[in-house]
Amino acid sequence: MRTSTASKLTRAVAGLVGTLAIVSVGVFALVRSAPGDPIDVELGPLLGQSGLTVVEVAEFRAARERELGLDRPIPEQYRRWLARVVRGDLGVSFRNRRPVRDELVRHLPASLALGGAGLTVGVGLAGGLAALASRRPGGPVDHAVRVFSLVGASLPAFLSGLLALSVFARTSGGYQITGPASFGRLWLPALVLGVATAPTPLRLLRSALVTERGRLYAVAAVARGVGPTRLVARHTARPAVAPVLSMAGITLAGLVTGSILTETVFSWPGLGRLVVDAIESQDYPVVQGYVLVVFAFVVVANAVAGALQRLVDPTVDAAALAVT
């Protein structure tokens, strides 16, 4: 059965909205399941200092409950919460009383810089090494690349970060771990994140390049006298990239997860560092803001990657997608 592009698009968007709705319900349930009710948390620091009587506290509580809508039924509370969140009103941080939205925006550039640099390093490594390895499958270079990808895949970002730090912290004039985000501090975490990101696309790209090399058109190109570098660059690279795109979503998820750990290891002032600090100090509004924004980002990016892949390669089917 053939379906038109428009109806496919409608279905994709409907699925995306549905997923986001479920995610929002999940986050709302999680927020409400936090120990201690929100007013207790709010009253916490006040109770000790002021000489409020029990009646006054109870009055304040009741007023605040009405204000926050906590006396309403749960579905209505969810509707109000969602309306606030969608408007971009994510509440105020418990720690420094700043709007959560501003906190997120303030930490975003550092995360984007690290994520972008890490992705660049990762994609560069994957592309370059895959091209090298595919020139002679089974050769020494191929084996070396395989060892790299095995070790890289087995080395979580926080571990390679610690190892890199232990090396560079000891060399004189080595790496500065403290201080604000700067270009001089970016290269090491970017390298760590890149090495952690590279193995999956590297393996896929290598095997796709090897497969393409065996096809008739590539053999014909070699027979015409096309050199090995030009063969990859002009002939086999493009068809080999399509299957790699299917892993873009997983790569992205790995990048987000890896950046939380990398930012913690390198004290990089990004979103990952923000949320780890917020969890440690039970700053629920900041945690909620981070979770909402990052989940939405990952879900949307995944949908876009899927759509992109269908655009590049219309023959893609679920079975090919499923086998990682």
């Binding site: 120990p35 571990l159 780890v276 969890i279 945690v287 979770v291 949908a303």
Partner: protein
């Protein structure tokens, strides 16, 4: 053209990985007998000591024996990730198979749920759970399990569908084979290899995720010895006592490396099998 033995080094990868994992499991399981000190005992003696004859891997900031802590540290992580992996495999396979076998409506709905769950990174869900429920290993694992079954379900569904479309399955159905027979003789043989492969892939991810979340301070809580938690403790003394990071770091690396080798070896074997079938 030089001919290479078809089995090398592919078989070696699977064999080496399995052997490494077996050794690691044995060492960790025998920790109470192999370790020479209590992992949480704060010994009177030198702290931050490098490797010596009494303490093979040195001591930490409380004078605890790093080697014993390392041996014990793997027990919780490996036992829990093993149990969780089996549970995720079972749940994912059953859900995927049911979705794949049922009618169109269930399939569409199921696929949507599975795709949605796959698109949310499990570590982030675990982090969200920790953020609102407080840090503990159980919270981390529960949060991760909420979406981690989905990759297994997606693969199982795809495999069930493609297996039922195979000519032999169609023929068997035409000859009057029942659902149980179809599942046992047509679907299961085509299901188990790829599912095992995905299990090995995800097992490595699981161990790394647990260690990573413990490293952030959200998993295993002190003084319980856990590799990630040990890394976090050692991090502050990276410049002066790097052995505190090297020992648990090597343990995590070797475990994940063993699982990665196993999954690569399984992948090669599966690829070869499907090539043989194609020929």
């Amino acid at each position: 053209m030089r001919r290479r033995r078809p089995d090398s080094p592919r078989g070696a990868l699977l064999f080496g990985g399995t052997a490494l994992l077996a050794v690691l499991l044995a060492v960790v399981a025998l920790a109470p007998w192999l370790g020479r000190f209590d992992p949480t005992e704060q010994l009177v003696g030198p702290r931050f000591q490098g490797p010596s004859q009494a303490h093979w891997l040195g001591t930490d900031r409380f004078g605890r024996d790093v080697a014993s802590r390392m041996l014990h540290g793997g027990r919780q992580t490996l036992a829990l990730s093993g149990a969780l992996l089996v549970a995720l495999l079972a749940v994912g396979t059953v859900v995927g198979a049911v979705v794949g076998l049922c009618g169109r409506l269930v399939d569409t709905a199921g696929q949507w749920v599975i795709d949605g769950a796959v698109s949310v990174p499990a570590v982030l869900v675990a982090l969200a759970f920790v953020g609102f429920r407080g840090p503990s290993l159980a919270t981390v694992l529960g949060g991760a399990a909420l979406v981690w079954w989905a990759p297994f379900a997606r693969l199982a569904r795809a495999l069930v569908r493609s297996a039922l479309a195979e000519p032999s399955a169609v023929a068997a159905r035409g000859l009057g084979a029942g659902r149980v027979e179809l599942l046992r003789h047509e679907v299961w043989p085509r299901l188990r290899g790829p599912m095992l492969l995905l299990g090995a892939v995800e097992a490595g991810q699981l161990v790394a995720a647990i260690a990573g979340l413990s490293f952030l301070g959200f998993g295993a809580q002190p003084p319980s010895p856990e590799w990630g938690a040990m890394l976090e403790e050692g991090r502050a003394y990276l410049a002066t006592a790097p052995h505190l990071v090297y020992a648990p770091g090597a343990a995590v690396l070797l475990t994940v490396l063993a699982l990665t080798c196993i999954s690569e070896g399984l992948r090669d074997r599966l690829d070869r099998q499907s090539q043989v079938v194609a020929q």
